[in-house]
């Protein structure tokens, strides 16, 4: 395995290298280095300042893209205001991975099993992207990252009085989700996101029709019958907890 590693010091520089080399952004590398999912050029983000903090704003919690799962887990702000995201972070991998793995990388994987994405979709998060200039996009509208865009931060609304996340894996830690689900509720506004039941995390705003939108497949992690049965039970549990 060999590649060229670039270590830009600013956002501008990173985007420039990206445009010139067509390389891949590297956060902690717990996904791309493990799965060899990269091109010849890797652009490390770790020396770019300002991407590693969690801050409270008026309507949002702003989470830098290099914030690790460990930081999320340790943050009382996240735990209080965004319990679904906190639970997702807490249930991701094990301590070693959580010390390194970033929220930006989790979104960047675009995997249906990205645990934080399920929580963030339910919480109606937005992402701030940078490709020379900054723009903002709702996560639910973001189906792939365009060639050059870098995620700089994630903005998670504080308006949901209730949110919760559930994960079923094959063991209690270091486990890919067989299925995960998050529900966020703000009065009559309900958002339910389900992971691993299709090619992407699936969002649904009506609890009574969640199951119709899921299309699991038989794979090494479980049968359609099993995944559907668990989805039903998780949905029951979450809606009950949400008082629905």
């Amino acid at each position: 395995m060999s590649y060229r590693l670039h270590i830009p010091k600013t956002l501008q520089e990173a985007v420039q290298i990206k445009k010139e080399t067509g390389g891949t952004y590297l956060a902690a590398g717990t996904d791309i280095l493990v799965n060899h999912r990269h091109k010849d050029d890797l652009i490390a983000l770790e020396k770019i300042p300002g991407l590693s903090s969690i801050e409270e704003e008026k309507d949002y919690v702003r989470i830098g893209s290099l914030v690790t799962f460990n930081q999320l887990e340790k943050s009382s702000l996240v735990k209080e205001k965004l319990p679904a995201l906190w639970q997702a972070a807490y249930n991701t991998a094990g301590p070693q991975i959580r010390n390194r793995a970033t929220i930006g990388g989790n979104i960047g994987c675009f995997s249906p099993a990205s645990d934080s994405v399920t929580a963030l979709l339910a919480l109606d998060a937005e992402v701030e992207l940078f490709d020379g200039k900054t723009c903002r996009e709702k996560l639910e509208n973001l189906h792939f990252l365009d060639n050059t865009a870098m995620i700089t931060s994630v903005l998670v609304p504080k308006r949901f009085g209730f949110s919760a996340f559930e994960k079923v894996g094959k063991r209690n830690a270091m486990s890919v989700s067989v299925i995960n689900m998050a529900l966020a509720r703000n009065g009559s506004e309900v958002r339910i996101a389900t992971g691993c039941m299709g090619p992407q995390v699936i969002l649904c705003k009506d609890p009574s029709s969640v199951l119709e939108f899921l299309y699991p497949i038989n794979d090494r992690w479980g049968t359609i019958e099993y995944k559907t049965a668990v989805a039903r039970k998780l949905l029951d549990k979450l809606t009950k907890e949400a008082g629905l």
Partner: protein, 693 residues
């Protein structure tokens, strides 16, 4: 009784400091100038005839060897039918066809990918079910039955007619891997005496020497072999894994070489625990005495026998467990399939058998209105009684004492009262032999030398991580009347030693401990250099093994109502393994064995599809994590075994035997008697049963 100070205490592990500081040298830590890296050309398909191998252009300093380069193309084992490199008939996906050696691993792999194979693909025999079909292709001329085993004691047919209860069931257990941290690895060079020197991750340095001698045509005297620090074996390094390939390369090129399995190679093509299909029928009198048992076992040994025939024999011998039963019929078949070879794994057939027998025993207890402990007490085997094959139990058996002690435990009190309805409780008993068994050479040689600092104790036996060097140093110190810190244990090499066999069959403490005591006696009589030899005592009558250890295993579980996952909460056990040399080491073996077996019970399995495993990494072969291991407690009864070293018996495999049936019985008690007959436990079965309940 002798006054004890070095044994019976939890001496700190001698290998501990080196391991926790990273000073310990494992095989893959050996870096030397000019070492060739070895990769194998492996078969892409599970069953085929090999018509030809076309090598790519080999740059200077790179090599490719095929079967025609091997002096005598077989790996010595029970049947020795496995070639070092397949030359015509390919019998499993991943089978080695050629060896490539190159200055870097990248280059070796690249050259491997450029080798062209000419194959006539055959239909895959994809498991036991296929192997038994009339019209399945044959792996060997004589068909797909590798070995059989049959034994009959008393008249089972007649006895069943006299039973007031008969329980019966069919069971299945999965292929499991050993899951050792250190993958298979070997390093070879020519030493300053011109000998082929093998350093490897092995359970048996001598077997590596013999295998290399066969493959290279060298005399035994021109080969030397030793184990580096070994990061776990559990049976999976008992026999050839990586060793023979660099041995061939170094022999033919004169250059250093090494071969380290990737984790994928380890998972797909390392040795395995045999998948089993078992059936058992057990008949009881009204008061719960077992009158008759008829048990059968089918094992998938994969493409080659390796130690499979012995696994079948031991599994069958242990089938009826720790009970005295007058009429017993036992049948077993070991089958060849197009799967990677299964061989030794901790428990050696006994866990597969116990899963069937112990579950049925608990089902019978429920029908008879007996407690799970009671039914075992009624039937517990005692010294002097005849075993399932008719041979007399000649040595100490403390099962009844272990059952009594378990009955006094807080665990059992809780199980009896079951205060919280969302917990389920179950128990099972495991019995495990030690020693290699009748007609298998089982001798250990030890040499003790007096030195300025104290004593060196040498043997070719290997400490594979289980801690035997500490226990043996304690025995030596006790026997010599000195302190453990004055004993220098030198283990695991052929040089200066005689063949003491494999670190296997829970034999090291017993057989090596006795040899040490013998040599120590001579030292105490004034010699500065003494040898000790112990042959493991063989069973005198109709039996394979004659020493057994016992374990009462309790399981407390809860069930996740959303996922159907079984969550073990507490495992408590009482063990009977003679006198205990080192309580902490004993518990280490017990707790590790329980964790290993929870894996097989709940999540671990290798599944084949057309001869190819679905599992290929530790992300999808689900070993338990530390978060999956429940509270573990163990106590023991010490019944002195007069022929053992300071009263000890062997126990390393014991904790793997009874975990699965204890857990499934606990689940069953929570789920209205749900009968779980297949491992790992299928969560869908639990959810379905929950829906009904």
């Amino acid at each position: 009784m002798k006054e004890k100070n070095c044994v019976g205490v939890s001496a700190a592990r001698l290998d501990g400091p080196d391991k926790v500081t990273g000073r310990a040298v494992y095989t893959a830590d050996i870096h030397m100038e000019g070492t060739l890296e070895v990769s194998l050309v492996r078969s892409p398909v599970a069953h085929a005839m090999l018509k030809g191998i076309r090598a790519p252009h080999l740059p200077d300093g790179s090599f490719l060897f095929t079967a025609s380069d091997i002096a005598d193309n077989h790996i010595p084992s029970i049947f020795s039918e496995q070639p070092v490199l397949a030359s015509d008939h390919i019998r499993y996906q991943g089978e080695a066809l050629a060896i490539v050696a190159a200055p870097t691993k990248e280059l070796a792999d690249k050259l491997v990918s450029k080798v062209e194979l000419d194959l006539d693909v055959l239909q895959t025999v994809d498991g036991i079910e296929d192997a038994l079909k009339e019209d399945s292709p044959h792996l060997f001329e004589n068909g797909n039955i590798c070995s059989t085993f049959h034994s009959e004691k008393g008249d089972t047919e007649k006895a069943f007619t006299e039973c007031s209860l008969i329980v019966e069931g069919s069971f299945e257990t999965p292929v499991q891997i050993h899951g050792f941290m250190e993958p298979e690895a070997a390093f070879c060079c020519i030493d300053d005496k011109g000998r082929l020197s093998i350093v490897s991750s092995t359970q048996n340095a001598y077997s590596d020497l013999y295998t290399a001698a066969t493959a290279t045509g060298r005399d035994h005297e021109t080969i030397t072999s030793r184990a580096a620090t070994v990061g776990g074996g559990f049976g999976g390094k008992d026999g050839n894994t990586a060793q023979v390939y660099p041995a061939v390369v170094t022999h033919l090129t004169g250059k250093r070489s090494r071969f380290i399995y990737s984790r994928e190679e380890n998972i797909r093509w390392g040795m395995k625990r045999h998948r089993s299909l078992t059936h058992a029928k057990i008949g009881f009198s009204k008061d719960g005495h077992i009158l008759a048992a008829d048990c059968s076992m089918l094992l998938d040994t994969g493409a080659y026998a390796m130690l499979g025939p012995s696994v079948l024999r031991l599994g069958i011998e242990h089938f009826t467990g720790a009970y005295h039963i007058p009429n017993v019929k036992l049948d077993g078949k070991l089958l060849y399939t197009n799967h990677a070879p299964a061989s030794a794994m901790r428990g050696f057939g006994a866990p597969q058998a116990a899963f069937a027998f112990e579950n049925l025993l608990n089902r019978a207890a429920a029908k008879l209105g007996l407690d799970q402990l009671e039914i075992r007490k009624i039937n517990a085997v005692h010294k002097g009684q005849k075993g399932p094959m008719g041979g007399e139990n000649e040595h100490e058996i403390g099962l009844e004492e272990a059952l009594d002690k378990f009955a006094q435990s807080p665990f059992y009190m809780e199980m009896k009262n079951n205060p919280v309805p969302r917990y389920g409780y179950g128990l099972a008993v495991g019995m495990m032999s030690s020693g290699l068994g009748k007609h298998v050479p089982d001798t250990c040689h030890v040499i003790i030398d007096r030195t300025e600092e104290g004593f060196t104790v040498r043997t070719s036996l290997v400490d594979i991580g289980q801690g035997s060097q500490t226990a043996l140093a304690q025995i030596a110190a006790q026997a010599l009347g000195t302190d453990v810190c004055r004993i220098d244990m030198q283990m695991g090499q052929t040089d200066g030693n005689q063949d003491s066999g494999s670190t296997a069959a829970s034999r090291s403490t017993f057989v090596c401990g006795n040899a040490i005591i013998q040599a120590a006696q001579k030292i105490k009589e004034g010699q500065d250099h003494a040898e000790g030899v112990c042959a493991f005592p063989e069973a005198s009558g109709e039996a394979i093994h004659t020493y057994f250890a016992f374990m009462v295993q309790g399981a407390k579980v809860k069930i996740n109502p959303e996922s159907g996952a079984v969550d073990p909460v507490w495992m408590h056990s009482t063990t009977e393994t003679g006198c205990v040399i080192n309580p902490t080491l004993l518990n280490g073996q017990i707790f590790g064995g329980i964790a290993m077996s929870l894996g097989m019970t709940l999540s671990e399995q290798i599944r084949y599809r057309n001869g190819i495993t679905l599992e290929n990494s530790l992300a999808n072969y689900i070993l338990p994590s530390s978060m999956d291991v429940p509270r573990l407690t163990n106590d023991f009864v010490e019944k002195e075994e007069p022929t053992g070293p300071f009263g000890a018996k062997g126990m390393a495999e014991l904790p793997t035997v009874a975990v699965a049936p204890a857990v499934t019985s606990a689940v069953s008690s929570l789920m209205g008697g749900l009968e779980i007959n297949r491992l790992p436990i299928d969560r869908m079965e639990i959810l379905k049963a929950g829906r009904k309940a």
